[in-house]
Amino acid sequence: MPRLSAAARHTVRFTLNGRPVSGQAAPRTLLSDFLRHEIGATGTHVGCEHGVCGACTVDVDGMLTRACMTLAVQVEGCAIRTVEGLAPASDRLSVLQAAFRRHHALQCGFCTAGILMSLDVFLKAEPDPSEEAVRDLLSGHLCRCTGYTPMVRAALEAAAELRDVQGKTAHA
């Protein structure tokens, strides 16, 4: 690992939602600040900056990561996915996002980006989860508006829909 000077800014390059991006970061710059203010991807939110609330959760090389507990220089060369990359097109919603809207699974929407990222990664690994497993996953996120149940329902319905789509694709 290269030794970085605290006084200098360093070029950080990675792919964000499939596209190459780069920017300048001091070694202490948080990934959350870097994504939001240097790259301009403001969909990822910051709620506590100590890793508990989960609002800043992003996918780094397939692993769920708290962007507020990660330094920007750590993601050099990584593939990052954020909420901006979930929808299939700019005027459409993903299956999971649409389920969130249908079930009123968000109110202020501030915690939502991190929750969508966690569920997106989770449902890929566990396409047919129990309600208990979904609640367990969601317990890594704090939401003060919804009481969580609408999110659980949205996740379970999205999982069923995604299984259905995959089943059809497999048989096609």
């Binding site: 979930l86 249908r102 704090l142």
Partner: protein, 998 residues
């Protein structure tokens, strides 16, 4: 589940359509304050905060901070006071309320200085360079103790820390108590908590010196009466304070009203630095120093007949507003003043309301606002009445509810309960939630030896606050002098553009409730359009928009007041459009209807013109407007309900316009071993009048329920007796997660309000009022106890079952139990041994040598010898997530060379303070080395205690271990008796704790 609005026309109100807000929020396209970008050259503010709960500021040295490259300005309280006036205080008393401490700090987290710099990182670096010397004062945190003779005084203008003491009497309470069969009382404490929105405060402020005008963008939520408070503090008229809000806000629940002192700070910072200034609050700042609900100590006594009828209540409320009485406090205490009899028909009432200040964060708006505090007392009392009279609690509720034929019902203290059928709602709740089944489950659980309880609560949920209720804190004479205050202006504007499309603007400042969606439904119905045809803007700009003091999002006023105002504005536009269309359709205006995007003759729907053509006419051909018809370009309605009158000479006050009703009950089971509470079933039956959007109403109920569950079971802003703040992270201030929040059974009845344009009432706060009381009653029932303290965290409940935790079993290696601290800081005790390969005399010499101490005190640099037994040092230490610099003073005493010495010290820094002492005993080991044993006692306070509390014991052990390991190494003897493995572990731990390995 929400429905996708396709092509259905008409009747949009009452349908749960998908929200227009959601697509942007789900795809990262939100426009929250910190997403909006700033002008080039914008600077960033960071705030230095008090580590002590009560202390005089002796001196502040900002020179090093000012000299740091990138820093534009550093301001202290004196600088801020020089450019502003004190924030107004809501009671008549000679006290000041500054947004930044002037001469004295009164709560942990109070702003002491601010830095403006090129970025936030540099601004925070500069905070570390500000040196503040404090002279400590004793602190008081308990509201009852604060009133004691001799208690530390916070403000000279509040004798015995009492900001207000008013007594009220309604009806004939003396006779009622004299004639009562029973007199039943309860004392309760409502704890400090907050709804903690996930987005914190944020603002961007600018100043124009040529016009002496401020422009502030902030995620403020209203009420905009606070605009007058801010402009007054900034010494400008209202038209020189432009206050704007972003489109999206990441939750508020009342809390973001409390940003206003920071608006003053940001505005002054922008003025001094000559550049726009941005500030985003961090989570520690938010938990420690934003705002909280009031904690309250209440004794409530009832006069009760033999059959459980309550004939009088006697309230004694002591409200704790924290260190300053910030606007609009003491509103939390008076918001419920008309509703102190709850849902019950009780004609006689006495009230004593005292407002006290303590060394805690100032209080402010928080979901429920006064309701949780009142209903915890009232509904616990109803349960106690049932227990003491041997009645079913449900029966006591039933016998006292306001009768269905009594509406509108004037309560003893003056509220006008607009409508309801409480008996019907109660019956609907019982049926839908299957109370009988729940009672059977309780019998079954108890028969099996399990702990199970059922609780009830019946509450009236007030909404749309009377802007005049706060004046009830003043005496009638003071009110007379100040002039009457009343009403609740709601505003809505409907505009039609040159192609005939419709825009709605409201001053409602939503924080996720979905106002834009509901307004599109309301206006679509009036104008015969689809919700997707209507564009709604709910951003606020006081320089351009219609607004008034009641504007904003609080007191559950949207559905009842704001949506109603939008309906009235749409009606007015429709009335004019009908007259324009009538001329074109050749029918009387009364025959015109709006449907399917057309304006048509009701008698012959084929006779129609497109809505947009009629709507655009005022732009393109105003001369074609029929005689006497005003243009239809824009219509603004200000609506205030006439029922919201000022308090009368006898202190009757209709504190709110609408009154919903909630009946809750629940079954809970308590784990006998852990004390954990499992909610078996929670039923909540509501009557919030006409429901405009069923999905959003249920969303409000679920969200309020989750907040209330947190308040009842988990959340408390905890303080040490010395005012140390102990819950500075979301790992310490626990809020409910998906694992703790069950889905309540939600039941609706609808009795429209006769006082609102749409028949709607508020619904967003009710469960915050009913649920804590309902859960507390269930726990009282389960454990057969009368004194229930919130929050009912497992450890507290386990103590109720098993008694207090017994001391840990003894043993040679057992750590001494944490000692109770007289002053309330985090106190730690420990002991240990080390081996040094040098004779006691050599070790003794090392302990007295500054160079050696510099080398062995963990993180020490710049050790200076003040005298033979006194040293000072700069120390850099990391505990948990907090690494910081401290100034240390070390003294040696009780010297017994070369056998024993007491080493005592004190550290102080921006991240906190601490101190302690240790006795070191040196014993020759017989082989030329020294056995060294030590005991220590240490305390820590300030930010370190707030965020690192759970880690402190471990961290203290590690740091002290490092000291002796270093001493052993320095003596040339290798490691101490710990051995290599322990040292490596220590090194690893200390790396984790944030400092370099020894």
């Amino acid at each position: 589940m929400l429905e996708t609005p396709h092509d259905k026309s008409g009747g949009w109100v009452g349908r749960a359509i998908e929200r227009v807000e959601d697509a942007a929020l789900l795809t990262g396209g939100g426009r929250y304050l910190d997403d909006l970008g700033t002008k080039p050259g914008t600077l960033h503010m960071a705030i230095l905060r008090a580590p002590h709960a009560h202390a005089d500021i002796v001196s502040i040295d900002t020179s090093a901070a000012k000299a740091l490259p990138g820093v534009a300005a550093v301001l202290t309280g004196a600088d801020v006071a020089g450019l502003t006036t004190s924030l107004v205080v809501g009671v008549k008393a000679p006290v000041e309320c500054w947004p930044m401490a002037v001469n004295r700090v009164r709560f942990v987290g109070e702003p002491v200085a601010l830095v403006v710099a090129q970025d936030r990182y540099v601004a925070e670096d500069a905070l570390d360079l500000i040196e503040v010397a404090y002279e400590m004062r004793p602190a008081v945190v308990d509201p009852l103790a604060a009133m004691d003779q001799g208690a530390p005084l916070l403000h000279d203008g509040f004798p015995r820390n009492i900001a207000s003491d008013r007594s009220f009497r309604y009806g004939d309470p003396e006779t009622a108590f004299a004639q009562a069969d029973h007199r039943i009382a309860i004392s309760v404490r409502y704890p400090r908590n907050s709804c903690t929105p996930i987005e914190t405060y944020g603002l961007v402020a600018e100043y124009d010196p040529h016009e002496d005008a401020y422009d502030v963008l902030a995620n403020f939520q209203g009420p905009f009466s606070i605009h007058a408070v801010i402009s007054r503090a900034l010494k400008v008229p209202g038209n020189r304070l432009r206050l704007r809000t972003p489109r999206d806000s990441g939750g508020s629940f009342g809390v973001k009203q409390g940003i206003f002192p920071y608006i003053v700070l940001g505005a002054v910072a922008a003025r001094v630095s000559g550049r726009p200034v941005k500030w985003i609050e961090d989570r520690l700042e938010h938990l420690m120093a934003s705002v909280s609900a009031t904690n309250r100590a209440t004794t409530l006594t009832a006069a009760v007949t033999a059959d459980g009828r309550i004939t009088a209540l006697d309230w004694d409320q002591v409200e704790d507003c924290g260190a300053h009485l910030r606007a609009p406090e003491p509103a939390t205490l008076y918001r419920m003043h008309g509703n102190l009899t709850g849902a019950y028909d009780i004609r006689n009432l006495t009230v004593r309301n005292r407002v006290v200040v303590t060394n805690k964060c100032p209080t402010g708006l928080n979901r429920g606002f006064g309701g949780p505090q009142v209903y915890l007392a009232l509904e616990r009392l109803v349960q106690r009445i049932a227990v003491e009279l041997g009645l079913d609690p449900l029966e006591v509720i039933r016998r006292n509810l306001v009768p269905a034929d009594a509406f509108p019902y004037r309560t003893a203290s003056g509220a006008l309960l607009d409508s309801g059928d409480y008996q019907k709602t109660l019956a609907a709740g019982l049926a839908a939630g299957d109370l009988q089944g729940l009672l059977a489950r309780r019998d079954e659980a108890r028969a099996a030896g399990r702990i199970y309880g059922i609780g009830y609560a019946a509450v009236v949920e007030p909404s749309v606050s009377n802007m005049g209720y706060i004046a009830t804190v003043l005496t009638p004479a003071e009110r007379h002098k100040a002039g009457p205050k009343n009403g609740a202006q709601a505003t809505a504007t409907i505009a039609i553009d040159p192609v005939g499309s419709v825009t709605v603007h409201v001053a409602s400042v939503p924080q996720g409730q979905g106002h834009r969606t509901v307004l599109s439904q309301v206006v679509a119905d009036v104008l015969g359009l689809k919700p997707s045809d209507i564009r709604v803007n709910a951003e606020m700009d006081t320089a351009k928009d219609a607004w008034s003091i009641a504007s904003g999002n609080y007191a559950s006023r949207f559905a009842a007041a704001v949506a109603g105002a939008a309906k009235l504005a749409a009606d007015r536009i429709a009335e004019r459009l009908a007259r324009v269309a009538a001329a074109q359709l050749n029918v009387p205006a009364e025959d015109v209807m709006f449907a399917g995007g057309k304006i048509a003759a009701r008698s012959n729907p084929a006779n129609a013109v497109p809505f947009s053509r009629v709507a655009a006419l005022s732009h393109w051909s105003p001369a074609q407007l029929p005689e006497g018809v005003a243009p239809t370009i824009r219509e603004t309605v200000f609506w205030t309900p006439p029922e919201l009158t000022a308090a009368d000479a006898d202190d009757h006050i209709n504190s709110s316009l609408c009154h919903g009703f909630i009946f809750d009950y629940c079954g809970i089971e308590i784990d006998r071993d852990t004390g954990a509470i499992r909610i078996d079933r929670y039923v909540t039956a509501h009557d919030c009048g006409t429901i405009l959007h069923p999905g959003m109403v249920d969303g409000q109920i679920r969200g309020g329920f989750a907040h209330a569950l947190g308040a009842a079971l988990l959340e408390e802003y905890a303080y040490g007796d010395d005012g140390s703040f102990l819950t500075g992270t979301f790992a310490d201030y626990l809020v409910p997660t998906a694992m703790e929040v069950p889905e309540p059974v939600i039941v609706h009845t609808q009795t429209p309000s006769p006082f609102t344009p749409l028949g709607a009432k508020g619904v967003g706060e009710g469960n915050c009022m009913s649920t804590p009381a309902c859960l507390a009653n269930a726990v009282a029932d389960a454990l057969d106890i009368s004194d229930v303290r919130l929050p009912l965290a497992p450890a507290a409940v386990a103590a109720l079952i098993h008694g207090a935790e017994p001391p840990a079993p003894g043993g040679a290696r057992a750590a001494p139990a944490p000692a109770p601290s007289g002053k309330g800081e985090r106190l730690m005790r420990g002991a240990g041994k080390a081996h040094v390969a040098a004779a006691p005399e050599a070790v003794w010499a090392m302990l007295l040598d500054p160079d050696t101490l510099a080398a062995i005190i963990p993180g020490a640099h710049d050790v200076r010898k003040v005298s033979d037994t006194k040293f000072t040092a700069d120390v850099t230490l990391g505990i948990g997530p907090v690494k910081g610099r401290y100034k240390a003073q070390v003294a040696l005493s009780d010297l017994d060379p070369p056998k024993a010495v007491t080493l005592s010290g004190k550290v102080d820094g921006n991240l906190g303070f601490g101190g302690g002492s240790g006795r070191i005993t040196l014993t020759p080991d017989g082989t030329g080395g020294t056995e060294l044993s030590y005991t220590y006692e240490a305390f820590v306070g300030g930010k370190v205690a707030s965020v690192g509390g759970r880690l402190l014991d471990g961290a203290a052990k590690v740091i002290i271990g490092q000291f002796f390991a270093a001493l052993a190494r320095k003596a040339g003897g290798g490691a101490g008796t710990d051995g290599g493995l322990i040292s490596r572990l220590l090194a690893r731990l200390s790396t984790l704790l944030g400092r370099d390995a020894p």
